[in-house]
């Protein structure tokens, strides 16, 4: 298959708000449960180990008119909770048996409680992750939380979730992480071949595909890209940051590319690659997941970072990817991304890395202004950068 054909397949999954692939899973695995998770970090290994399909919930992708969802949120609250409620109230989540709400921000946190009130027949768990990174303190707490999740899912699924089940799932997700990492390496090495939009769609497919199938899709895409011949353009290499929760519309990613930006790193699909390294398969598997979270989480606005200055991780990414500039693309009213932004821009200014910033919402439909802004930004890099 060509990269375009693989991206087309992924694109079909992206646009299927009715979760046809999830229905297929249920048909193929009678009695198996499906667990939805919101951004950003959810321990998908535990869900998979319980024989369940973890399904990433990423809002309405600008494809639904929000009517009922708006009745639950004030105008100054971001888009993802309202489209998520809209999807639920319009029947799109009937195939989902339970929901995990990670500790991403106050909105996602409060949404967990709203879910309990609105949908009492569904399993709901708030996934509290530690902000203390001492294994004996935060690690112990998170190990306990993971244990509760495992017990809950065992009860929901009607069968125990053994350590061996967990280890098998960890192996599967480690393979997935490795494939994702290879895809990012390829994007970094040859962004004119592994296009940002295609890569995004391929990673996004991991929201509904069983993990092994998703790994295969990524590997197939990498192979197809390596076999393809695409022309290199004189684009600026940029990192985009701030889109880790509510997702940008596809048109926005395309617009950035068309405006002359090669996106060599982004945080759009962070929930699929939160951990930067493998989880150990030795010893107690839940302890291994907890320790991986403590030591191998991506730097992100929702995490307290006691050992590093804010901005250091972004500068590492900029250096590693040889990025020439940074694009801050955050959803409107996103507290974590927008509160973090001044600290990051300060770090970039110190290192004289050019940056530009705009906000979006998942249902944004007009990209002309962003195209002009990004185009000017890319041109300025190309024309005025020391290189």
């Amino acid at each position: 298959m060509t990269p375009e054909q693989i991206a087309e397949k992924a694109d079909a999954l992206y646009h299927d708000l009715d979760l046809g692939r999830v229905k297929q899973f249920r048909d193929e695995h009678p009695g198996a449960k499906v667990i939805g998770y919101l951004p950003i970090y959810a321990p998908r290994e535990v869900v998979d180990a319980a024989g369940m399909l973890p399904v990433g919930i990423t809002g309405g992708r600008g494809q639904i008119e929000i009517i009922r969802g708006d009745a639950y949120f004030q105008s100054y609250i971001c888009q993802i909770p309202r489209s998520t409620i809209e999807l639920a109230l319009s029947g799109r989540f009937q195939l989902i048996d339970g929901f995990l709400f990670p500790s991403t921000c106050d909105v996602i946190r409060n949404l967990s409680g709203m879910w309990r009130v609105l949908f009492p027949e569904k399993y709901v768990r708030y996934v509290d992750v530690p902000q203390n990174f001492d294994p004996k303190v935060g690690g112990k707490f998170f190990r306990g939380e993971l244990g509760h999740l495992r017990d809950d899912l065992a009860k929901l699924g009607g069968r125990p979730v053994t350590d061996d089940d967990l280890r098998r799932s960890i192996v599967k997700y480690n393979e997935n992480r490795s494939a994702v990492s290879d895809l990012f390496a390829l994007r970094n090495a040859a962004p004119w071949r592994a296009l940002a939009l295609e890569s995004y769609l391929v990673l996004f497919a991991g929201n509904v595909l069983p993990v092994e199938e998703h790994t295969t899709l990524i590997r197939d895409y990498i192979a197809a890209v390596n076999a393809s011949d695409r022309p290199m353009r004189d684009n600026a290499r940029v990192v985009t940051i701030g889109s880790f929760c509510e997702q940008p519309p596809l048109g926005l990613i395309k617009t950035l590319e068309m405006a002359g930006c090669y996106i060599v790193w982004d945080d759009m699909t962070l929930s699929k690659r939160w951990l930067t390294q493998e989880i150990s398969t030795e010893g107690d598997p839940l302890t291994a997941i907890a320790e991986a979270f403590l030591t191998h989480s991506h730097s992100n606005a929702v995490l307290y970072e006691p050992r590093r200055e804010k901005g250091d991780a972004l500068m590492d990414i900029v250096r590693r990817t040889k990025a020439e500039g940074v694009v801050f693309a955050a959803p409107s009213f996103c507290d974590p991304a927008l509160l973090e932004q001044p600290m990051l821009t300060e770090a970039l200014d110190r290192e004289q890395i050019p940056w530009t910033a705009f906000k979006y919402s998942e249902n944004l439909g007009q990209f002309q202004v962003i195209r002009e802004q990004a185009g000017t930004f890319a041109d300025s890099i190309k024309l005025w950068s020391p290189a």
Binding site: Q74, L89, D106, G113, V117, Q131, D134, Y304, D335, L339
Partner: protein, 440 residues
């Protein structure tokens, strides 16, 4: 105003002025200064180390009441802080850039430690990360788990206690050069519990008709010492005892609350209010209530620093565990179902006519989910629920005419209910997820 009211107000004024004066003289007195937040504050522990606490939210709200926050916010936005985020943070950053002059006109000291009590509000985390860059001082992080499933489990308590032992206390020891003295902490906790008893008595006095207090606009004054630097001190004990006596005296005479315009007239409406107040037009907003005979008999905002009326008291026999329980129990650390249960209880126990939500743009911890709370309370109690929108300290988001209009409409709705008009049917939303029908 009555002389009784003046006594507790004068006491509080003295206490607060004294504290800010002590802060301004921290350099001379060699006292260490710890910045921290109101929800989940560890004031007794700070007293045990003889440090001076300073609460940036309080500075921000004081700036709001003094009409200075608007300028501070504009300054912060010029520095790149988004118009979308919490105005408390921007007011604080703007105040810092303007020289950090406190509410009494004296310069506030820089922190020796930022004690990040991460309880019930995500923004706290970012706020102190921002301040850390300004002050270049250490942070001690206390992560308090959220009561997502409506409980604070023994594992969660152990987690908080472990952090106190391994992170908070060692950092306080390091900054102050003083060893942790548990007996000193117990003594402060004992004083806290005594003052907490009296605060609860004051808050619960609103169950009588007419209510001798306003538990929202007046309530924010009553909680002041308890939620800030004075819990665990003899001064707080004295203040609450005095306040209690004043409130009892008013109740005995059948008097209502004392407002900025003097004693309130006849009580016509009894309301429960959810959400923080607007500080930039605080008195104007209060006046919209008392001019129409509306008194707030219970509020959730006065529980952000602890739900004492639900039975919690600091326990000197379990000093660290009780601090953990306290932090976890603050209002914004409660799940939405817990909040709804609490408000329903207030509506019933305080014989309220209904619930009014003040939705503030700055605070998603409060605001996200409030419309569901409103619907649920209407459904469960049959009482009218209303909604106004303002902000904490950003004056651009206070529109007096709109707010007044909403309040008047809401009170008319209560009148209609009293006259026997049937409430609009509030449907329980979807017993089964997704069963509502066709796809758009």
């Amino acid at each position: 105003m009555t002389t009784e009211k003046d006594r507790s107000m004068a006491l509080q004024k003295e206490m607060i002025a004294g504290h800010f004066h002590a802060l301004s003289k921290a350099g001379e007195s060699k006292k260490k200064v710890v910045y921290t937040f109101v929800p989940g504050n560890l004031t007794e522990l700070l007293h045990a180390f003889d440090v001076l606490p300073l609460y940036p939210e309080i500075n921000a709200l004081q700036s709001g009441m003094r009409k200075r926050s608007g300028g501070f916010i504009t300054e912060a936005e010029k520095l790149g802080h988004s118009e979308d985020v919490c105005a408390y943070v921007k007011s604080d950053i703007g105040m810092l850039k303007a020289g950090n002059i406190g509410p009494t006109g004296e310069k506030l000291p820089e922190p020796d430690l930022l004690l990040l009590s991460y309880t019930g509000c995500f923004t706290f985390l970012k706020w102190f990360e921002l301040l850390k860059r300004q002050y270049n001082c250490p942070i001690a992080m206390l992560h308090v788990p959220y009561q997502g499933d409506g409980s604070f489990t023994p594992e969660m308590r152990d987690y908080v206690v472990s952090q106190l032992k391994t992170e908070i206390i060692p950092k306080l020891e390091e900054v102050t050069g003083t060893k942790y003295d548990e007996d000193k902490l117990r003594a402060a906790l004992r004083l806290s519990a005594k003052a907490e008893d009296d605060l609860v008595t004051v808050l619960e006095s609103a169950k009588t008709k007419p209510s001798p207090i306003d538990a929202y606009f007046g309530g924010v004054y009553y909680i002041g010492p308890m939620f800030t630097a004075f819990r665990g001190t003899p001064a707080a004990v004295e203040y609450y005892q005095t306040l209690k006596e004043e409130v009892f005296a008013r109740a005995a005479k059948g008097l209502g609350p004392v407002t900025p315009d003097g004693p309130m007239g006849a009580e016509k409406y009894r309301l429960v209010v959810e959400g923080p107040p607007n500080w930039t037009s605080f008195q104007e907003l209060w006046k919209m209530f008392y001019d129409q005979g509306a008194v707030v008999v219970a509020s959730t905002y006065t529980k952000v620093g602890g739900l004492y009326d639900m039975g919690f008291r600091h326990d000197p026999d379990h000093p660290l565990e009780t601090l953990a329980d306290y932090c976890a129990g603050c209002y914004t650390n409660l799940s939405l179902p817990q909040r709804i249960d609490l408000i329903e209880k207030y509506v019933h126990e305080y014989q309220a006519d209904g619930l009014l939500v003040n939705s503030v743009k700055s605070c998603n911890s409060f605001s996200s989910g409030q419309l569901l709370i409103l619907r649920e309370i209407e459904r469960r109690t049959g009482c009218a629920a209303g909604f106004i929108e303002t902000d904490l300290v950003d004056p651009r988001y206070f529109s007096a005419a709109n707010v007044m209009n909403r309040i008047e409409s809401y009170l008319q709705m209560i009148e209609q209910r009293r006259r026997g008009a049937a409430p609009a049917k509030v449907e329980r939303h979807l017993p089964v997820l997704g069963s509502e029908g066709s796809l758009p």
